[in-house]
Symmetry: C2
């Protein structure tokens, strides 16, 4: 039940090859990339969480073998695979820790079983870190030596890359920047994690919907009311559409979201001082090409400038990510490549 798409002629590809796997709650995506980060082939299969981790590990392994064989290359030409997984990970042991959306998968030796089934060494990585590494390697962060990626989806995910270091943290909580504090007051909003004042409680898709709903319910005039009455679902996309059509409340919600992001970004800048900050995730898809997206970035920049050092603001780049939903498997392959060169004691980032 897998879909396959072929990108690139093998004639142009540069070995060795790397496989990236992006494990999601519904779908597993995987790709074969060459040494330069060009995807040669893309494939997907259903996760079937309920069948348990051994079943999934087995099918992921088979899918890797089939995809590689389908390309007409031998498995021995693939140096390594990378497996991006959601949730908190015990990276050293290749295990998920209490994964709420994967009941029964916690403690299962996922990395090693996927490795067994596909016949390749496997690098294990958090999916947000993988996406960040994808953008760092071949996406809109490819000119940066360090970056922070914030992914705006149901929650606010994050990955931090400094040179060839992925900030994973001692307990798998590194780069959980959706939970950076932006409001310490008693009236701070409740975050999905149960605590208050975190960035995610203001700038995630859920938070945007909640803030829009509160504004609509308070009776503020807005074209959102009409759209919803006509059957449209209240989503960040709807709010963006109405903002683009000139609705004042929708515009206000979009730019308030930019301001909240800026508050979180300031603390990150003063901790990491990266070359760039990228915004990705479903909420940003298409924004890079839109006028509203450009104004959104400008509003973030304006607020950040008021709150950071001029020398830092002068060089900082803030942009949208470019790899979209492919960032996860591309980044997982990139981290596999990084581990491969580390194992050879060669630098993976060429001058």
């Amino acid at each position: 039940m897998s879909q396959t798409r072929q990108f690139q002629s093998l004639a142009d590809a540069r070995p060795p090859y790397f496989v990236g796997i992006d494990l999601g709650g519904t779908t597993v995506k995987l790709g074969v990339l060459d040494e330069t980060g060009r995807p040669l082939c893309w494939n997907s299969l259903a996760t079937h969480v309920e069948r348990g981790p051994e079943d999934a590990a087995c099918r992921m392994g088979e899918a890797v073998r089939e995809t590689v064989a389908g390309l007409g290359i031998s498995l021995s030409a693939v140096a390594r695979a990378g497996l991006g997984s959601p949730g908190i990970l015990d990276v050293r042991n290749g295990v998920m820790v209490n994964p709420t959306n994967f009941p029964g998968w916690g403690g299962f030796p996922l990395r090693d079983r996927v490795s067994h089934h596909c016949g390749l060494p496997v690098a294990f990585v958090n999916d947000a870190n993988a996406a960040a590494y994808g953008e760092f390697w071949v996406g809109s962060g490819r000119s940066f030596q360090s970056l922070i990626l914030l992914t705006l989806g149901t929650g606010v995910g994050c990955g931090i890359i400094i040179g060839d270091v992925i900030v994973e943290g001692e307990n798998g909580h590194g780069a959980e920047c959706g939970h950076v504090l932006i409001d310490s007051s008693d009236t701070a909003r409740l975050c999905s994690c149960g605590m208050t004042g975190h960035l995610e409680a203001y700038a995630s898709a859920m938070a945007v919907i909640k803030r829009a709903r509160e504004a609509i319910d308070s009776g503020q005039p807005t074209s959102l009311t009409r759209r919803i009455a006509e059957g449209a679902e209240l989503t960040p996309r709807l709010v963006a559409e109405e903002a683009q059509s000139g609705d004042a409340l929708s515009t206000k919600i979009v730019f308030e979201t930019a301001r909240y992001l800026a508050l979180g970004i300031v603390s990150l800048l003063h901790t990491i001082d990266p070359a760039g900050v990228l915004l990705g995730g479903a909420m940003t898809f298409g924004a890079r090409e839109s006028e509203l997206g450009r104004r959104f970035l400008a509003r973030i920049f304006e607020e950040v400038k008021c709150r950071t050092f001029p020398t830092l603001a002068a060089k900082l780049q803030i942009d949208f990510a470019t790899l979209g939903p492919d960032a996860g498997y591309i980044g997982a392959a990139g981290i596999a490549r990084l581990e491969h060169y580390k194992s050879l004691r060669k630098p993976a980032v060429w001058p």
Copy 2:
């Protein structure tokens, strides 16, 4: 005009040796350490900022040669020196960037001139990062794989160490965590950097003095009023003394400071997830041995626990630093050692 102190018999010392230099606005401290981080000898000289950087580089170089010779070892037994310098640095080029307290020193090739005068390769590092590395190598962070050091002095300094990576940032602004945002409201306090709501505006020595002064001026009853009338200077130490004697207002100020620190620490935890957070700097000297110090740490922990993930709080250690004013030169020597082993392509952290 230098002071020398000898620590350790050479018979026990393990070569190679490393020199650490801690450049301050008034005094330069330097030490010779062995491979295991034991200080063999300690020396200090006046900085004389007004004489310019070449003069200081020359005298630092001479002091290194004299100190090494005084120990009875040859310069060739010293593998490398480390130079910790205040302010924003261009680490790659070994240069200070616009140093306010060192007029005329900006752009001077400080690292290379010190190297020239002492006859050793020199590693160049920000002083707060050096202090953090000192605690990481041989201080209260020696059992940690990663740590954040917050130094509470006139300002709030910070150093972040992740394995053998020192978070320096793209523009020398890495680990400027005194400027993490803890209050985004319109009534947030003004920071020394000119912006508002930063941790430093609440938890530095200057901030503690300001908050105490405001409370006294508002007429709140406190034994601080009597002490100041008797000629005592209003300092964080005085506030701590009165808190230890049971003064309610002083106690409140101390524990509010703990709460403010916790707000900043939460954002750092969700970005870095280090094994430990250490508090150092003049404001904390002596606190590790005091009952008030223990209660101060407990108050920080209590507030952090309310605002972070249980899995993270369960393993996190928060403690005071132990190297005191020696952290800077010890850490600079440690970073020299790290660069030495990197140049040999050997791991510096033994299992």
